[in-house]
Subunit: 503 residues, 2 copies
């Protein structure tokens, strides 16, 4: 293998730092507007990021080359880490989150669009800091769109080659400038949807600040909220919750499909297998959950906080059960992690269902984390075909997806990805358990971190937060978030000795 | 596809029923010897089985043909079911287990060598009934040896083709008479090891009856005990427990390796990768468990029954910790499920470890259930190679096992098996949760039934039994046992409509 070109990597990191610093300036403006006293700290953070970024750029000035595949893995992995290091500065410099561990956790949770938080009193934070928090989600979402649709297929990660042909982009070994065009178009959709949601939320009765923040955290499937009770704060305003439900759903679809929809190519949208299954899963699980909540949860009126919040039934128990079921199912499948009620106390059966839901994830090419529905579709189809193949060992029976035959190599890739995902989950849960977490909390923390969901079970249930984790647990959770967000291989490949040979 | 030949299937079922009936006569002798009053009931059960079997044989008299692959799946699946139906008769006819559900559960648990029991007071049962219970394990173990080594590879199940060359048997599409030779040799080893363990247990101080029963239940990796406290009954006699540990270990190795060892081909044994990894996992997990028990469990002297049983430390805490750690690790990895202490209360970390251990399983070609170590080896190797392949998408890099390249088709098969295993586990756990079991009990019941282990967690922990399951839960558990025992595909393929086409 050729030697890695570190110059190009440094150049990219410089670009990301400047980009991040510029976004921080937006929060400075928010701070000045609300006069919340955090402007100076955020400004310093922004200037420092830009200064270091500028230095990197200066050191590699005039250097022009194309990124090779192997450098791609490193750029993506280091990029997410350096963004999180720089993004933690506003928390630290303003004193909003003094501990470096906590600040890094919150930022990694932001950029990976996980939405797990260590903040015990969100509402006491300066508004600009909350806006920065939402911004990390929103930037992370932008990063994921281009990553999922343009970069990962080229890097040959976990079967994502399936999509190299779908994105109106390149398919060569070198990352092509046309990626920029694709990215711009998709970002425009991302931006428009965010604006649309913010306006709708405002119209429905949310304050401007909350509306903008929640829109940013919805489209990125992040899940940070500006309220301690998350979206349960608006349990008296069902319209607000339905708006969020719709946009969470959209954020969990493949952005290329939105692009087709904007272009009027509805046939491509309606015949998409992943969209169909995504929809069916939601309908099915919402129905089951709603019925169970209606019959059983109506009984268990324990005086826990979230139950109290979830139970002002504006339009009666039926609507309330339906809405909370739908909200939680979509919040978990899209890995957004907003909360309108505590799913972890909804009968043992629903606990199991929501636990497994964390392993499903929404569509590939969306901002959602997790395994992704397309992978499940292909694995299940392959599973059924395996029976046919067992009966006819010599016949060649390919898996078909969206009308095309999927190569055996891609199916292989996807199965290896899923198995690796479960191995990482198992190791993740074991480490949490070693830190003293009980078995449910440990398993939930691992599944939720890896799937970029946010809320989990037990001590990390939707009404709790991640502050109770021991310090090492926070780093471990942040590592799992990064692994999950970058589809495992991108990070793990950089950790193999083989990757570094010939350097 | 050709039509299924039902005559040959009927003939095989007839053979199995007669065989089963003859084994029941052994229990009649035991009953007469101990004069426990159960002889008549068992005799009727045996005669009925033989009568029906004889009828089947008579109906297909003189019929001679070879079993085809497709009939193979049906013979194996129906065989296990018909054995369980007939094997439940002694319990019902003697009134020892009056409920049909319970009797069927106990018998399926026997033939699948699971060892989960619905008996609340084992020691109050007639001795002959306990002997019959152990006999079901022992027959199940015999069945598994020939199944795993000779039949499954031919049926192309879950990568087991790997072993078609290893067993000194056939590899054509039709089941060859040489299978009988292979089986006879392996059964001789199975029989000899059982006798050896029984003698050693007797010499170490166990009564003859207990010694014979425990030997039968060890070699089959079953786990039924003649004592309510299982092997914890002998916590004052460490030598007895060490003997059982050694034979559980042996029962979890590939019987073909024992065959090589008897023939003096030790090189083949020592270089076997699966044996090496099996050994390493046990050493590693025993060390971790022993240290944790030593430091933490010494503290938590809760007055629960099993703790009380586990704590007469004959040789001090260090030896006791080591022994109980080793015993439980081997009992779970070999899916025997004997109990000398309650692993479910050994710190949260060990709960997680023992839970995942249920998914490992011992060696292929042993009597153990579960996924099997060889599959994990190949999946992990393939996982690492997938990184290399991602960096060099055009290179062909095969997985190597025991010095030979494993075909891509077999790796594919194994990954599909593992994913299917986890899907079945997930569905299994969801159904248990739907019946009202809490999340830990539900997940444990599914993993333990499917892996043919026996003890699980929560309400089904090593100090409890399966009697508390609702009636449907017992049938579901029995179904999972059968699925797991027959490596999923064998049963599931029979349930596909495709299998029945052209009939």
């Amino acid at each position: 293998m050729k030697k890695l070109n570190f110059k190009i990597i440094l150049q990219m990191m410089g670009f990301l730092l400047i980009f991040n610093g510029l976004f921080m300036l937006l929060s400075v403006i928010v701070s000045l507007y609300y006069d919340d006293g955090a402007s100076q700290g955020i400004l310093y953070a922004g200037l420092l990021s830009m200064a270091v970024g500028g230095l990197f750029q200066f050191a590699t000035k005039g250097f022009k080359t194309q990124i090779k595949k192997r450098e791609g893995y490193l750029v993506v992995t280091l990029g997410w880490i350096i963004m999180s290091l720089s993004g933690a500065l506003p928390y630290i410099f303003t004193g909003a989150i003094p501990s470096f561990t906590n600040a890094f956790f919150e930022t990694m949770s932001g950029y990976t669009t996980t939405g797990a938080s260590i903040l015990n009193d969100i509402e006491s934070m300066p508004k600009s800091i909350l806006f920065w928090r939402s911004t990390t989600h929103w930037i992370g979402g932008m990063g994921i769109i281009v990553l999922a649709i343009a970069i990962l297929p080229l890097l040959g990660i976990g079967g994502m080659q399936l999509f190299s042909a779908e994105a109106p982009g390149p398919s060569a070994d070198k990352l092509h400038p046309r990626i920029t065009d694709t990215a711009k178009r998709l970002w425009l959709i991302y931006f428009s949807l965010t604006v649309a949601e913010a306006i709708l939320l405002k119209v429905a009765g949310m304050g401007v600040f909350d509306a903008v923040n929640h829109a940013m955290c919805t489209l990125s499937t992040g899940g940070f909220s500006t309220k301690n009770a998350s979206v349960a704060y608006w349990n008296n305003q069902p319209v607000i919750q339905y708006i969020i439900i719709i946009f969470m759903f959209l954020a969990g679809t493949n952005f290329v499909l939105s692009y087709y929809a904007f272009k009027g190519k509805f046939k491509k949208v309606f015949y998409d297998e992943e969209l169909k299954i995504y929809f069916i899963i939601i309908v099915l699980l919402t129905t089951i959950s709603a019925i169970l909540i209606y019959y059983f949860a109506g009984v268990s009126k324990t005086p826990t906080e979230i139950q109290a919040i979830a139970h002002p039934m504006v339009n009666g128990l039926a609507e309330s059960s339906f809405r909370h079921a739908l909200f939680q199912v979509i919040a978990v499948i899209t890995t957004t992690g907003f909360v309108s009620a505590d799913f972890s106390i909804w009968t043992p059966f629903l606990s199991v269902i929501f636990f497994f839901l964390m392993f499903i994830g929404a569509s590939a090419g969306s901002t959602a984390g997790g395994v992704k529905i397309v992978r499940h579709i292909i694995m299940l189809k392959n599973g059924f075909l395996e029976f046919k193949r067992t009966l006819h060992p010599n016949a060649i029976i390919p898996v078909r997806y969206n009308g095309r035959a999927v190569t055996r190599g891609i199916v292989f890739n996807i199965m290896a990805f899923f198995i690796l995902y479960l191995v990482v989950f198992a190791i993740g849960a074991s480490v949490f358990a070693l830190l003293g977490l009980d078995i449910i909390t440990a398993a939930g923390a691992s599944a939720s971190s890896l799937g970029n969901v946010g809320p989990a079970f037990g001590d990390l249930s939707p009404v709790n937060n991640y502050d109770s984790l021991p310090s090492f647990g926070k780093w471990w959770s942040a590592f799992l978030m990064l692994l999950g967000r970058l589809e495992l291989f991108t990070v793990l490949i950089v950790l193999t000795p083989y990757f570094w040979r010939n350097n």
